[in-house]
Amino acid sequence: MSDSDISAALQQQVLDAFHKETPLSISASGSKAFLGNTSRGQPIDVTGHRGIVEYDPRELVLTVRSGTTLHEIEAALAEAGQMLAFEPPHFGEAATLGGTIACGLSGPRRPYCGSARDSVLGCKLINGRSEILRFGGQVMKNVAGYDVSRLMVGARGTLGIMLELSLKVLPRPSASITVTRVCNEAGAVSSMSALLGKPLPVDGACFHGEQLYIRISGSAQAVREARSKIAGDVVPDADAFWHALREHQLPFFKRNGTLYRVMVKPATPPLNIEGTWLLDWGGAQRWLYSDEDPASLRHRIASVGGHVTAFRGGKQADEIFHPLPASLLAIHQRIKASFDPKNIFNRGRLYAEL
């Protein structure tokens, strides 16, 4: 597909919607339509706004239009020996960077090399007044003005249409191996927690099917050295494992029912909640299939300082995301109104009140 800049057309559509107070539902490939509450409004398609605007590997900065596919971006980076450090899940062939950032999705490398949000350096967007605004920039250090670029990450399109994103990218590690060993869940949690305190180049840790998986990446020397300090057998074709984990293609994710994303402190001992668990992010992100009542589940997780999302298979008409306390919800509503005074973007996608 060739590059194209449709920002003027998008801006016109937003202007019309602003005048008519028509709700808009921002869409691209639809790979993440399953995630979040149902969005109400006329579709506004950003897939036509695509292409790499600027990429200089020596700067470690990439600027792309939001409708560009992750595939295209990752191919361009790979050619220069670089990568998106947050290892984004695609959840679909045509997944775009815009959707990935709007959903704030990061893969297994996240606890060790940062999140989608951590990679964002700048953003150009259309707000609800149809104004094109630019925040942040193409440099690593920038403290001029509030950090609106990172505010867009995970806002699920409720604050504006992202047009362009600048991201920090990193060199791909020259070597990587994954080791695995049998253990129980409690053992896995304490092993993964212990790794946080050790200066080892670990960039993935997962507990799945009574096995602990630890990925070690870096220079060839560093990997060899670290391997000798971590017990377990080397996993052949480990890339396929991490890819399947990231894309929810492991057999674990083929179950029926609601898949919950449970966020807790990484060293939190196994939670006594009926269901089937998979632990990623060194124990900080836990996947759960459970038939338990969503409200009581939220309550249980919140009692250990965590939060929970009905990630897949929940009732999208209901509450998908962990509810906010009233004081924070009020601030969210005021922020929403400050970007989108007529409430046209992705109404209800994140919370019914936004």
């Binding site: 470690l60 999140s115 920039g137 250090k141 001029a144 003005g145 505010l151 806002a155 924070l328």
Partner: protein
Amino acid sequence: MPHLRENNTALISALRGLLPSESVLADAEDMRPFECDGLAVYRQLPMVVALPETVAQVQSILRLCHAHGVPVVARGAGTGLSGGALPLADGLLLSLAKFNRILNIDVHNAMATVQPGVRNLAISEAAAAYGMYYAPDPSSQIACTIGGNVAENSGGVHCLKYGLTVHNILMLKVVTMEGELLTIGAETLDSPGYDLLALMTGSEGMLGVIVEITVKLLAKPERAQVVLAAFDDVMKAGEAVGSIIAAGIIPAGLEMMDKLAIRAAEDFVHAGYPRDAEAILLCELDGTHAEVSEYILAVRDILTTGGATEVRTAADEAERQLFWKGRKSAFPAVGRISPDYYCMDGTIPRRQLPHVLRRIGEMSAEYGLAVANVFHAGDGNLHPLILFDANKEGELHRTEEFGRSILQLCVEVGGTITGEHGVGVEKIDQMCVQFHSAELSQFHAVKAAFDPSGLLNPGKAVPTLRRCAEFGAMHVHHGQLPHPELERF
């Protein structure tokens, strides 16, 4: 204004009801230490200084000020370099100095919970017992507080690899101007809803008063080693930086100094820098033993190929510390060779370095003021230090003009007016260069979402459109800064 004075007297006496008497300062003599931050060219005594020690006291003070319509400026150690903590004559200066306790170090979850008045370095010192540390290390880390670091999104010399403050914190407790206590972020790696943690970080005390911070801790690398390279040409040094990164190496620190800075630092701390070099690079590698050895060899190779006249690896930990001491002392070292200096803080895309340094050199000649350049080369953050003498008629004014030109240059080449020092009062006019009116209006709207009364640190960080219109008009004769979209007042 008798009404205002009565209001002030009422406020001060109400404050004395909330806090012990020694925690409310209203005499000019007592308030003198609070009249400026690290940017001492701006000074202003506040109406009153309050030094609370509990969150409940902070809440009461803010409720009181809100009720009286009195603006509030929060302050940590006052080491900031942009006047962000400059008091207001009719405002309350809220010192968080008494919030100086480390509340918890949670090794298993690699985090620490601290009060805002804890010094940056104290966190790493406390975590050292567990082989851990807090990564961001601004040069002022001995004195600056973590609360101020969050307010400014402070950086340091290790940002390229380990990120800024925003990448190294998890959760904040914040009191709003109305006195409400909010928890922003979470002890988990993300939190529901909008990323208010990002918004709060670097917000310069405009959105809320931070009363507790949970930071991430990292395992201390097994080994760190530094390579020093000398160049006979600044451009070659700049090229070498790009080559290291292109080779897939992310140094823990990558710093560059030009000739004037090298000489000043060498004369001051005798770091062993080559005095005849046009530029030096300090490249620190950290990680496991084998990894560091491997990268040191690679980096030495790149530097030699890149035309370095000398490449030296620190012989031992003492020499490594000495190499860094020279760099970290660059500001005071320059302070020794000039009666005054003015520190700029632009960030530029690295590839623009040769062009920017050449232009700074030309401007230095035009303004008749010498410049020493120290550069966080890894992340593009440039600190030109303009040398001047405030006692010479007009020199401060010329220095400020020169500084403004440098920041405009940074914006022109795709960079920013401030990489880590913040906007404060110092660079508020330059915000008009970097952002247009709709963007500035959006910033004001974001502030109003947190602080509808506009009483938190008013007049800092984000200029009014009126101010920008006046600033633009002032500069039209330079043929720069066209703001046709702005109304002129």
